[in-house]
Symmetry: C2
Subunit: 358 residues, 2 copies
């Protein structure tokens, strides 16, 4: 079993975690385009894509055409019954992610789902029970940290003590609605799970990670449909406050109000305040400048620094996940952490006060 | 009586609101250096400083030396008994601001106090009663909007509909502690009133102003001494969520954690999200760049803009206040607004959950 330092070294060098064929995976349920990011990152880290299944065969075939050696399956069973497959990646409709994961784990495979990983506390109970019973992983693509070089880098800075002890993590997660391009389930509360569950999940995961919290309370939460009466079940705004088990606090706002004039889908920010300094991430754009995202601002006792980490950090999570699956370790992310973040999203959504503009 | 349009035109041209001698003022109680900003802004707008009183005569004399025609008084009564004086500006110890204001209003003069304008709900009741009985003004120097060109400009943008209907106002108010330069009352909770009352007052005033709220609920509030055990009564962190009477929401964080490496006292930000765009103010610094503050970012349906308003907007509040005092109008700020912001600060502080790091 390799130690995490070795994992990091491996992946910092953009080495693959395994040789071709050593870690065969499948993609099942392509409902959200995140599946393309999930699979490409796993393949870049050494995984070999063998099967793709979606209820829309043409969609699966189109993806298969991009990966030599990958084949569109005629049924989910064809994938789950293939003993070579180690892990199934999936971006199903959120409300269906749990059921698929239970089938994947029952088939003896690890599961890697898009966020949010589930939409109800009952599903969470089922997942925890199945994880415990089968020993399989139910991992989650919290992409706004795992697939963000500035997000990864902030974790390194915090771990290295660059800003002292973390006091607060604040996350801003505005998204562009692009209503015309969204499938019907996107506007159906029962299917997408609510805004705090859906795009809020990134924020809660980051809060737990950067503060090193094992658990947290939701101290306030709000959701609302403030300006989209044509989509009555859309929650276009949500925010929440968290209090971690070590006293660090969190606040995040998520919304579907990115204006058309922004050059990208959202001006996502992460602000981490520590006892000795602070970090700001301008994750996807440095708004009002020519710069793209992954801009890091670090202010400490000595000076202000502003720099880009684009192309300099990579995405170590994916190779670590492959090695974790092979070695049954938890360096990429613990199962407890992945599901605690999910739990808090569901609790936030359940506790949320509904607001509206008058 | 002039209309507000005329006030604005006057002041945009940096004309004085009145001729020399038409609006004589005094400064009483110089405990916080904000008094220098208050007086200089009033004088720039046309006021004539006649008297300065402080229990430390030398301090008053030093200030008087900067203003031709101003004189250090031997007693507070010497100021309050001078019938020429129209307004008394003051930056007393916060817990003493109310008592001084009551004496000023009883003497038939308007009062202009540093924020926070009081430290208890009982004082607030006294102020409201005295305002109603005497007809005098108890105005407040909420400097982070009134004495900030970007803060003023954001109000113009919102009023002009640049971002549609305001959904949320978020304020970040980090401050440098500079503990060695602070007087003892700064560390005495009963005297400064708590962090949400003190520096939180700027944030709550801005929330009410930019959202056009007449009232608000405090939906969450926290305070704590997270890293300064040597000052047990200092609250070095506070945050709160507000819900305005028209459904707009607010969040702010205030703290005393500005690291020494920052080029100024605090990386204050205001973020205003509207249905059609958003505004970010980098009020005192554009961190990590060579730029000073008053940087405005405006993103709407058409484009991203980033520009500086330093030296281009001025501070219309002060001339408007002078004219309001002379004409008994409320264009600079309504009495109701000034005291509603104060009330919400006190309610936030009273409702706050105490947090600590473990």
């Amino acid at each position: 079993m390799m130690c995490s330092g070795v994992y990091k070294e491996l992946l910092a060098k953009n080495k693959k975690a395994v040789e071709p064929g050593e870690f065969p995976i499948a993609a099942v349920a392509l409902d959200h385009p995140h599946i393309y990011g999930m699979v490409s990152a796993l393949v870049a880290a050494g995984a070999t894509l063998r099967w793709i299944y979606d209820s829309d065969y043409e969609k699966a075939a189109a993806m298969a055409a991009q990966y030599p050696g990958a084949k569109a399956a005629r049924s989910e069973a064809e994938v789950l019954e293939d003993p070579r497959i180690a892990l199934v990646a999936s971006a199903a409709i959120p409300a269906q992610r749990c059921a698929l994961g239970l089938r994947v784990m029952a088939a003896g495979k690890d599961y890697f789902t898009d966020k949010a990983p589930m939409t109800s506390l009952k599903q969470l109970d089922q997942v925890r029970e199945a994880v415990s019973r089968t020993g399989r992983k139910y991992m989650v693509y919290y992409s706004e940290r795992l697939h963000s070089e500035s997000g990864v880098h902030a974790g390194e800075l915090v771990r290295d003590g660059a800003i002292g002890k973390v006091i607060q993590v604040m996350g801003l997660g505005p998204h562009r609605l692009n209503a015309d391009t969204r499938p019907p389930w996107f506007f159906d509360r029962a299917q997408y799970g609510g805004i705090l569950c859906d795009i809020g999940s990134h924020q809660i995961e980051q809060f737990l990670y950067y503060t090193g919290s094992q658990d947290a309370q939701i101290t306030a939460a709000q959701i609302g449909n403030l300006a989209h009466p044509q989509y009555p079940e859309l929650e276009d705004f949500g925010d929440a406050m968290l209090l971690g088990d070590k006293g660090a606090t969190g606040y995040f706002r998520v919304d579907w109000f990115t204006p058309d004039g922004l050059r990208t889908w959202g001006d996502g920010r992460t602000l981490i305040v520590g006892t000795e300094g602070y970090i700001e991430l301008r994750k996807y754009i440095d708004v009002g400048t020519g710069q793209e995202g992954d801009v890091v601002i670090l202010v400490d006792g000595i000076r202000e620094r502003k720099y880009s980490v684009r192309g300099r950090i990579g995405y170590p999570f994916f190779g670590q996940l492959i090695l974790d699956c092979l070695n049954r370790t938890e360096y990429a992310m613990t199962q407890r952490h992945a599901l605690k973040a999910a739990e808090l999203c569901l609790r936030a959504e359940a506790a949320a006060r509904r607001i509206k503009l008058s």
